[in-house]
Subunit: 538 residues, 2 copies
């Protein structure tokens, strides 16, 4: 049968088969508990309200919001009526946010209460927005010059709880979009079709990937404004999982408390989040025994982090890999059955890789001499193809640099071992070219972070007259660590693990390392700081 | 990206990521062990050989074969080169087989050695077949008048192990087909598109359905000529499971031995198979502890069967439901997390239902007054819609009776409870209409089969002057049961469970009950036997 894959149908399935299952949602003021039947009716009310406000098929619906149930409702209401969910990264600069909203031509904006001041500041620059909706628990709208401003809950009160999901969806039409920061220039927009989101949700439910299930209590820590919280809200809703949404400006403490209180079974986020949670677990006394999986992506997790979760807290920790352009799940690290026979250390080594390709995708790894051998050594750029991989940046000529001959060029440099397991060794742009050979900054970083005294490490290249580039390591020590850790300590620790010419020329100690809005190291900025240390202020 | 879902890509994934994993395959003479790398190369050789023989995009490729690795290779070779895998039910009558092959216009036939005599008998009636291939372990071809006849292994020897899977597949083109017996008239053909098979494979891998995984050792007992062995060979290959194929004319003993010997974790088949296996387990001494799931479908499993597997042998037993027209998985019975709190008996009752709809499909249950309430009582016909539901019978006017307004009318009568769990209560045509009310023959059958002395029971309607129709129960007792079991014993056992007017007017004892080629009760034939008992031979 020609039945389109549609995002609305995922929530419809939950309304019918999991009406009693709950969403536990922390907003600014209240811990809400709603079930899928209620979420379904509220989503239908929201669609009817947006219809009243003039939102039509194909219109972009912007959100500036944290992880909570109202954001989830928009996840289904926008694509459910044929419009496009456009989640906006609230941590970007005001300039970037103006650019993104105007470039996407958002027609309506849904805004969390605490983000309203930002919009107050920029709203006169927004050229396409016709309505602003504030998501607040309060009865009155806040004082503001933003016009026209609506209250989310008031819109819902007036809406129709029996409004129908659009039946004429083309599965290849846009359901969502998300802008990703670029190394140079403005953020680039990625469009997700209905087909991409539904197939990606299937992929998240597979026993060998995230195995998302009705029996799960899922707490996405990755923001809903970042690649749809890795697509977990779509999959969890479809499969009837309980969802716990930690809300605005959560702390590691709140995460730990929620895990214990709500028996969270699966959670997902970037390494920085897990480093923070680990500190909290070390300090507090939490029962985390309900957790069956911590999914970690966004950037490579150091082996030490994986070990700490698994050995100290008995929490299974899974490395995954993806990008904004890949919806995002592309690979996940799970041992194959026969790899269970490896030694513990070998298992950890394998688990520190990013895993094998998720069923449904195709990959190629291309080095300077064509496709690399799968020997765990040869480095090449990872290329991806598949029904949930984007095929362009939205109205952006930079598409031509990344989407070539039907393949998405990830910009990530990897090795592939005999098992087909990839390991991210660097970004193409962060590889260090020393004496005509490549040095992986990430591998050195991970090795340094395996040192007990080290909290974080980041390796960048500095120009070198003789070798072209040389690595410098920037290190943050754990709080309260004794001060006998020196450059030499680190270099001695590294030297048995690498060829001599890989060893950093210097080890610099930092209070912290600059990070992007999604917790990734900002190497460009760090490189400037390193340069500044070497060139005394005038 | 516009990347089509294609069957060939499933095996390509296994070749790359699971090359070492094995297929263990019993043929007539040999127990073969091949890995996915070898299966991949053999499949490529087969595609090149079929190409040489003139098989082109869209051509139908017929198979008359048991469950083994060569059959698996054709599963991927035929759709992999754009032609159509047409599995033929070898248990049908010669007349039906002639009809099916001619109606599908098979261009080539792959035949197991022991089925060759059948083809010898009918081959002059086949109007479209241009080549016959015999699948044998022997070096020489058997003596036969069939022409032209090829040896499978010889074709492979001459084939190209690097032949490429077709890259220009349209996901909506046919990948497979299977004919299903009709109550009246010739068998009806169902076509499976690439899209249907791939999406169905995703569904089989979901944590909450069959959860097929790399770590599984899967032994499909349901024949590969019956709805693609429920699609398990496609999913298991994609996800890298070990597969155990029990080969021609297997016995319950071989199944039990294979489970123990190869540590089978998941198997699938009809209730008759499991009744047979249960007898074997009762008689023998087998280690079945590796089994994590027995999937049971095709017809409703009696509660006693489920209990015997779970309580006596600690083998999780999952009811599933589907049809040839549904690829087939449509529902599967797994308890929701909060249903774990039910009493043991309530859990078994719930588990004896056919479960909730698999994600990706839509259902409606329509009774005489429109859609029924989900109260576990109201009966109606189950209607299904979705991307792996067929939309017609192949070139057959009977399509109009079953595919109406975009819904497949299953012909199965069900109730739905508050949880959305369906229970098959009958076939529309087998419902007994007594005094203007419906009686479910299946519910009475299951109740009778819960009696310790009963092996099988089948309830049919006989015409009645006063009530229109009345139920008669036909019962097969376990072997060696004492002969004090009478009509009254059974009626006394039933009477507390049903309204008085549901109780059968008579209980007849049989040596066995006629069954179809796929193990379902042949009620039409049984009805004739019952009538014969009441009308003494002249």
């Amino acid at each position: 049968m020609q039945v389109p894959l549609s995002v609305g149908s995922l929530l419809e399935h939950a309304e019918k088969f999991f009406p009693k299952k709950e969403i536990i949602s922390q907003t600014h003021d209240i811990l809400h508990r709603l079930n899928y039947k209620e979420i379904g009716q509220r989503t239908r009310r929201l669609m009817s309200a947006m219809d009243e406000l003039g939102i039509r098929n194909g219109d972009r619906v912007g959100t500036l919001a944290w992880n909570h149930h109202r954001h989830l409702e928009i996840y289904f209401a926008a694509p459910g009526m044929g419009s496009v969910l456009h989640t906006i990264n609230i941590r970007l600069s005001p300039e970037d946010i103006i650019y993104i909203i105007n470039h996407a031509e958002d027609k309506i904006l849904f805004i969390d209460e605490d983000i309203l001041p930002l919009i107050e500041h920029i709203h006169t620059h927004l050229t396409t927005v016709e309505a602003f909706v504030v998501m607040t628990d309060k009865a009155e709208l806040p004082e503001t010059t933003i016009q026209p401003l609506y209250s989310y809950e008031e819109l819902l009160s007036a809406g129709d709880p029996a409004y129908e999901f659009a039946k004429d969806i083309d599965e290849n039409q846009p359901a969502g979009m998300c802008y990703t920061s670029a190394t140079t220039g403005k953020p680039k927009g990625v469009v997700y079709t209905h087909r991409a989101i539904v197939l990606h949700s299937f992929a998240l439910g597979l026993a060998d990937t995230a195995a998302i299930s009705e029996s799960d209590v899922s707490m996405p820590v990755v923001p809903q404004f970042h690649v749809n919280a890795w697509g977990t809200p779509f999959a969890c809703t479809w499969f009837g999982s309980t969802q716990v949404m930690p809300g605005p400006r959560f702390t590691p403490k709140r995460l730990a408390e929620f895990i214990e209180k709500f028996n969270v079974t699966i959670t997902a986020g970037v390494p920085t989040i897990w480093l923070g949670l680990l500190r909290e677990l070390d300090q507090g006394n939490y029962d985390t025994s309900s957790l069956r999986a911590v999914l970690c992506g966004g950037s490579a997790a150091p082996l030490g982090l994986i070990k700490a979760f698994e050995e100290k807290y008995n929490i299974p920790f899974y490395h995954a890999y993806g990008a904004t352009e890949t919806t995002p799940l592309a690979t996940i690290s799970r041992l194959k059955s026969y790899q269970q026979d490896l030694s513990k250390e070998e298992r950890f080594q394998e688990r520190s890789r990013q895993g094998i390709l998720v069923p449904g995708l195709q990959m190629k790894v291309v080095g300077e001499k064509g496709e690399v051998e799968w020997n765990g050594k040869e480095m090449g750029e990872l290329l991806l193809k598949g029904p949930w991989i984007a095929d362009e940046y939205y109205r952006d000529t930079r598409s031509n640099d990344a989407f070539i001959d039907g393949w998405f060029h990830t910009g990530d440099v990897v090795t592939v071992d005999e098992e087909g397991t990839i390991k991210i060794v660097d970004r193409t742009k962060d590889l260090i070219k020393s004496g005509g050979e490549w040095i992986s900054s990430v591998e050195i970083e991970n090795a340094i972070m395996a040192h007990d005294a080290v909290f974080e490490a980041c390796v960048v290249a500095i120009p070198d007259d003789k070798w072209q580039e040389r690595p410098i390591a920037c290190v943050v020590l754990h709080e309260g660590i004794d001060t006998t850790i020196t450059k030499e300590t680190i270099l001695e620790f590294l030297s048995p693990q690498f060829p001599k010419w890989w060893l950093p020329d210097d080890i610099l100690f930092f209070e912290d390392i600059p990070k992007s809005s999604v917790g990734k190291f900002l190497k460009r900025e760090l490189r400037e700081q390193v340069k500044a240390r070497y060139s005394p202020q005038e």
